[in-house]
């Protein structure tokens, strides 16, 4: 237990109706470089802010070195933050910015002087003491922000997307420097980013978050090679995410073919998600000996490798990365090794909503009353479970023409169709399988035909 | 953190006490007679008094005329000032802003003195000219401000699409500068319609404006009637301010 410098225990936090963090528990080892990775709005910044003391959780505890600091104000916490847009004090010069915290501690002047020069050297900004912070470039401001935070010698350094405002080249350089700095300082870094590549490069441990929940915790290799769900697989790197069926242990079916795999314990004939990384599909000119054949649709040079989209013999689209180019329209053979197939439990197999019978042919769920086929065995007011298959939800262009309206929140391409997550205007999720092309953020109307609404008695 | 929103509390109380309550009192007094009973007499008195209605109409007329003249004279001036090709000096801009900083009574007195000196009979003509003198800078400044900030590429895009300079001006620059004109109208019309001292100086007390009647009634302790007249003016002001939408340009920016 001692080696855990930070412990989050069952942290929940909402702003208004919106739940930002949902029962998050997490331990951080002393001295590690931990990255919290997730799309914007996933709660990662909120988690960091709770750790720094800007706001308090609705429930749960935060411990640093075993001490409960949940209600400590920021200035009493042994952590310092590098802010996203630096937050340097524009009325102070570089020296005064860095000395700010030290002066508050009433440190003797010569000690401050020494410390400031020391950290400036560490961020390679020697001789910049008297510069006006606004005259510095973005990269230099970033270094001053880091110097200012480490001058206080915190036990934990918090970094909130510190490289987001820099250009690509500068970002790469700073990544290396941050990594070195972490080694030199030997303190714990908690780093927040939405950039998966940054996370994979820098971290000892990555925490992938989405919608206020931790999706996966692991080393960069774990996260990349063995994503635990479709979200992680899609968010980290490029992937082919496909619907599959576990026939039996070590045998899985997807894209219309059966493949050997290494996964066990799913049961027989169970629906699963299958992830295959584009670089793990072997592509070759000869068709014999291949597990499946395909036709190349497009081929683009990406600098190091070629990225190709192929249509398989059973009509699925796959993304493939290879060092060799294959001409569009050419017939190719594909091979996937058992170890490169990642099988994951499906989070859900259809939409389920809590509902209430209105009368024989109407049921109310998601705050709307829907027409359904005549039901027997239910009385008005009965609580029921409503199930709707992903593919039976009808999306239309005009939100006002739908029973419900919402927007496309997240989308996955599954080889032959899109799997969309729709956020309704009331904040509920509906999952939809469709062949139509939608974009993230599109406003949609949602309709469900009476015959597609399946009503099940509530168990309790 | 959220606690700091309570810092606005003293000012909120102050506003309720010194802004909201006084405005309510105008309504309160307007519907009362001297003894404190509810009455509509103050309004009947106003609407049946030909003199009062005449003054009211004259005030509106002068305010509208003044505003119109200020737009006609001020818009070209603002346009020239904002046009880098026609005007390179910042001095002229400062010279147009300067009068806004000088006490309006003093400026008006100076204008009235000039009329005296030139032997011009004080009357409606001098009233209008004096008002234009007083308020022209308030029209020029917001229009200049918006024209100056306007992205040049709008005009270039219009020209690129085949608009003649004349068309660029009327179809692009004028519509885009409307918020400035509206700000200017607010800054000219409202003070003109409510002025009292200025009109007295400029007409040697010959012509009374609506503001003067309010002032006379309040000063002679006819508070209820004065309040009723103020309420009428408030309605006019309210209607005028509907002109301006919520996304108003910051017209005060840059004076200091």
């Amino acid at each position: 237990m001692k080696e855990h410098i930070i412990e989050f225990k069952n942290i929940s936090k909402s702003f208004g109706d919106k739940c930002i963090l949902n029962d998050v528990s997490l331990n951080v080892k002393k001295g590690e470089f931990l990255t919290i990775l997730g799309p914007s709005g996933c709660g990662k910044t909120t988690l960091l802010r709770l750790l720094a003391g800007f706001g308090s959780p609705d429930s749960g505890e935060i411990l640093i070195n075993g001490e409960n600091i949940t209600d400590f104000p920021p200035h009493l916490r042994p952590v310092n933050t590098v802010f996203q847009r630096y937050a340097l004090f524009p009325h102070l010069d570089v020296y005064e910015n860095i000395a700010f915290g030290l002066k508050l501690q009433k440190m003797p002047t010569d000690a401050i002087d020494k410390r400031v020069r020391n950290v400036l050297k560490m961020v390679s900004l020697t001789d910049y003491e008297d510069r006006d912070v606004e005259s510095l470039s973005g990269g230099q401001q970033q270094r001053v922000a880091i110097a200012r935070a480490i001058a206080n010698q915190p036990k934990v350094l918090l970094l909130d997307e510190p490289l987001a405002a820099l250009d690509l080249k500068m970002r790469k350089d700073m990544q290396i420097e941050l990594k070195e700095m972490h080694k030199k300082l030997g303190i714990t870094f908690v780093y927040v980013t939405h950039d998966q590549e940054e996370a994979l490069t820098l971290s000892d441990t990555i925490i992938v978050m989405n919608e206020g929940k931790i999706q996966q915790i692991g080393t960069p290799t774990d996260i990349y090679n063995e994503p635990q769900n479709a979200f992680v697989a899609d968010f980290i790197g490029e992937s082919n995410i496909l619907n599959g069926k576990m026939i039996k242990d070590k045998l899985v079916e997807f894209v219309g073919h059966e493949f050997e795999c290494v996964d066990e314990g799913f049961g027989e004939n169970v629906d699963v998600d299958v992830v295959v990384r584009p670089e793990d599909i072997y592509i070759m000119n000869k068709v014999e000996g291949a597990q499946l054949t395909a036709k190349v649709k497009s081929c683009t040079f990406k600098g190091v490798h070629y990225e190709m989209f192929v249509d398989t013999d059973k009509g699925y689209e796959l993304m493939i990365q290879d060092y060799n180019a294959f001409e569009p329209d050419s017939e190719v053979g594909l091979l996937i090794r058992p170890a490169d197939i990642q099988v994951m439990h499906k989070e859900r197999t259809c939409n389920t909503f809590e509902g209430e019978m209105v009368d024989e042919t109407h049921v109310k769920f998601l705050y709307e009353t829907f027409e359904c086929l005549p039901q027997s065995g239910f009385a008005a007011g009965d609580k029921v479970k409503v199930e709707v298959a992903f593919s039976k939800i009808d999306l239309i262009d005009h939100p006002e023409d739908g029973m419900l309206s919402g927007d496309v929140y997240f989308l996955l391409y599954k080889g032959d169709h899109y799997h969309l997550t729709i956020m309704t205007d009331d904040g509920d999720h509906i999952w939809v399988d469709t062949n139509d092309i939608w974009d993230k953020g599109d406003l949609v109307g949602i309709n469900i035909a009476p015959q597609d609404i399946k009503i099940v008695k509530c168990n309790d | 953190m959220t606690k700091r929103s309570t810092w606005a509390l003293p000012y909120a109380i102050f506003l309720v006490f010194f802004v909201a309550l006084p405005l309510c009192l105008i309504i309160f007094y307007a519907f009362q007679d001297g003894a404190g009973n509810f009455t509509l007499d103050n309004f009947t008195k106003f609407f049946t008094d030909a003199d009062a209605i005449g003054t009211f109409a004259l005030s509106l007329e002068v305010a509208i005329e003044n505003t119109a003249i200020c737009i006609l004279l001020g818009y070209p001036a603002a346009w020239i000032l904002a046009n880098k090709k026609l005007n390179k000096s910042a001095v002229t801009i400062v010279l147009f802003i300067l009068p806004m900083w000088i006490n309006a009574l003093m400026r008006t007195l100076a204008t009235a003195e000039l009329f005296h000196m030139l032997g011009i009979q004080l009357g409606k003509g001098t009233l209008l000219i004096g008002m234009v003198y007083d308020y022209l800078p308030f029209m020029i400044y917001p229009i200049y401000n918006i024209l100056n900030k306007m992205d040049k590429s709008y005009a270039e895009a219009a020209a690129d699409l085949g608009a003649t300079p004349w068309q660029v001006f009327w179809k692009v620059q004028v519509p885009l500068s409307m918020p400035g004109v509206i700000s200017g109208v607010m800054m000219v019309f409202m003070p003109t319609v409510s002025t009292f001292a200025i009109s007295e100086f400029l007409t040697n007390n010959k012509i009374k404006l609506f503001g003067t009647i309010i002032q006379e009634n309040i000063n002679s302790s006819m508070w209820n009637y004065g309040a009723a007249l103020s309420l009428v003016m408030l309605v006019i002001i309210g209607i005028t301010s509907l002109l301006q939408d919520n996304k108003k340009e910051d017209v005060s920016g840059g004076i200091v």
Binding site: P74 | R4, T92, L105, A197, G226
Partner: protein, 266 residues
Amino acid sequence: MKRFFAQCYIWLLLIVLYAPIVFIAIFSFTESKVLGNWTGFSTKLYSNLFTGDMQGTGSLMLAIENTLIIALIAAIVSTVLGTIAAIGIHNMRGKTKQAITFMNNIPMLNPDIITGVSLFLLFVFLHISQGYATVVLAHITFCTPYVVLNVLPRLTQMNPNIYEAALDLGATPFQALRKVLLPLLKPGMISGFILAFTMSLDDFAVTFFTRGTIGLDTLSTYIYTDARKGGLTPELRPLITLMFVGILILLIVINIRNIRNSKKEE
């Protein structure tokens, strides 16, 4: 050619606009009682102004003193009240924020006469005898919104993490306010103060309605009463001239400062 006509128009307008003040300034250097009658160069009007030896009644110097003191108190109180309020408003959300910003706009939109009459009715309603205090309160009422309006943009443009950064580095909320927030708000507070000060200096209508009957005069009410007695007292000519020159210098200084600042930013 176009430029020539444009410049002609501008300068013509300026000449007409400035004619009254220029004549006032010229005739401030002669003793003549009426404008336009040059009776030889003299600085007597200036010395009269400063020694208080005047033909008019009432004390002009006292009125000037009152004006300055009232403007100073109103501007200081408004700056403090408005800055605190701006910080509060900045941290507010939703309906309450809308309500208070709306109320803050009212004194700026209202014509002076309405502000004056409404405050007059307030003091009558509350049976507060009117005088110095009521004038100062009234001035604070219409000055504070300008301070709020000058400070608020500073807060919205400020990196929202600045205050948190100070806390993060070990400052108590009070230290963060004093060492970080206030220094950053200072420019907004200064321009708010200047605006409040000049607004108060220029005010006539609100003072007129809230000064009561104790004979309190500010410069504006003094001029008003004086002018109603019959034209412009000659001694006011040097006063107008001096104020004009003073403001001219102030504006030039401010503009030079602004140009310098914007050059520095580049």
